[in-house]
Symmetry: C2
Subunit: 208 residues, 2 copies
DNA sequence: CGAAATCTCCACCTTTTGGTGGAGTATGCA
DNA sequence: TGCATACTCCACCAAAAGGTGGAGATTTCG
């Protein structure tokens, strides 16, 4: 049969791509048909090769993984994408799944887990590990930050003072304080430094 | 000839190990003789296999990369270790090189860069890329934190207040402030939140 | 030994941050 | 239409953080 599963691998690290290709090569019914090193390339190559499954890292240069997923899913609503990332505390998991990813794997997994996930997702099901599902549920339950609060939080992480944030966003310092108050209570912390580190830990913002 | 280079691969991510093994397998004169997933295992396997070259990730469970390097180099002063990491801003580079690493590579490298580095280090030379050497020189030039300042900085990143830090360290709040003043000026920042984020960015401390 | 660095602490002051409670406007959804 | 949410802003207050300058004790190292 010509039923070998066509796979695209997206990761900016050459070694990781190599590892995935090597792992997949041991499976007779799977084949890597394309490799991309960034989000843009992933979108282009998806158009060209229409892989059955895309294994995608979230941290990518140019266009990040979440954006790439959204774009690909817009063009090809049936695209099946499995997210592959190093950081399990990452808020982007949630965003990626919302953007239409069908599976999620940590890079520490075994070959078996990978091939199982590929088969599961290829068969049309989703494959989200218990740990992640749990964290996701947790996350969903918890209060989410508004976009304005995110603007402020990013600047807190960037080390800006309330005054600077106010002028960055063209609002008064009082408003900044209001937002910060919401942020602190939503994150369950008591000052901006904690807000910064827990935001980084939970992957709500990144140090790029 | 029996002159194939014996290599040990240390990384907690299965995929990365697989990638390295696959890359190295394409070189006829190199061979992976051992794989370790954490620092302890790396030390044990080094005793058993005495590889010519060890490729070591720095972020490892149990015993971190730097400790493992130090331990291995204590037992086998001639061990040749190449550090392999994802994060190029990482302060651990410096520590790893001090601990006796002979080479340093980012995971984004090409197959050529890897094999070249292996050959260079195997021949007894060091192989530190220009970018890293530069950053290292920069780092050396810059003021370094004292151990007490590091104690304080860690707690700042941990989101502790001055009062809490004081009681953690059994010193007065005044002393904490003194240390923080030094930290801020040494890091070239103006408040604790910036201190936290730049410390994370430069890899001086980690969010574990 | 003597200089340098480190660690500890104090006083005094200014600025920043966080806490509380209230309030008006716009938007969107039931 | 009416309620909920998000965004904006205000005043007032208390606590925390940061800036400056000085000082004694200990260790380290040339």
């Amino acid at each position: 049969m010509s039923e070998s599963i066509q796979i695209m691998v997206v990761d900016d690290h050459h070694i990781v791509r190599q590892g995935l290709v090597a792992l997949i090569a041991t499976m007779p019914d799977m084949k890597v048909v394309a490799e991309a090193a960034d989000g843009m390339q992933a979108i282009e190559l998806h158009r060209r090769y229409r892989p059955d499954i895309t294994l995608m890292d979230l941290r990518l240069p140019h266009k990040n993984g979440v954006e790439a997923i959204a774009q690909i899913r817009t063009e090809f609503p049936t695209a099946r994408i499995i997210v592959l990332t190093t950081f399990d505390g990452d808020e982007d998991i949630y965003r990626a799944l919302q953007a239409g990813a069908k599976g999620y794997l940590l890079k520490g997994m075994t070959a078996d887990e990978l091939t199982q996930a590929i088969r599961t997702v290829h068969s049309g099901k989703s494959r989200i590990p218990a740990v992640v599902a749990e964290r996701l549920a947790e996350r969903m339950g918890g209060p989410s930050l508004t976009s304005r609060e995110l603007d402020v939080l990013k600047r807190i992480v960037g080390g800006r003072s309330n005054k600077e944030i106010a002028s960055d966003l063209f609002i008064s310092e009082a408003t900044v304080k209001t937002h910060i108050n919401s942020i602190l209570s939503k994150l369950g912390v008591s000052d901006r430094t904690q807000a910064a580190t827990t935001a980084l830990q939970r992957g709500i913002v990144h140090l790029d």
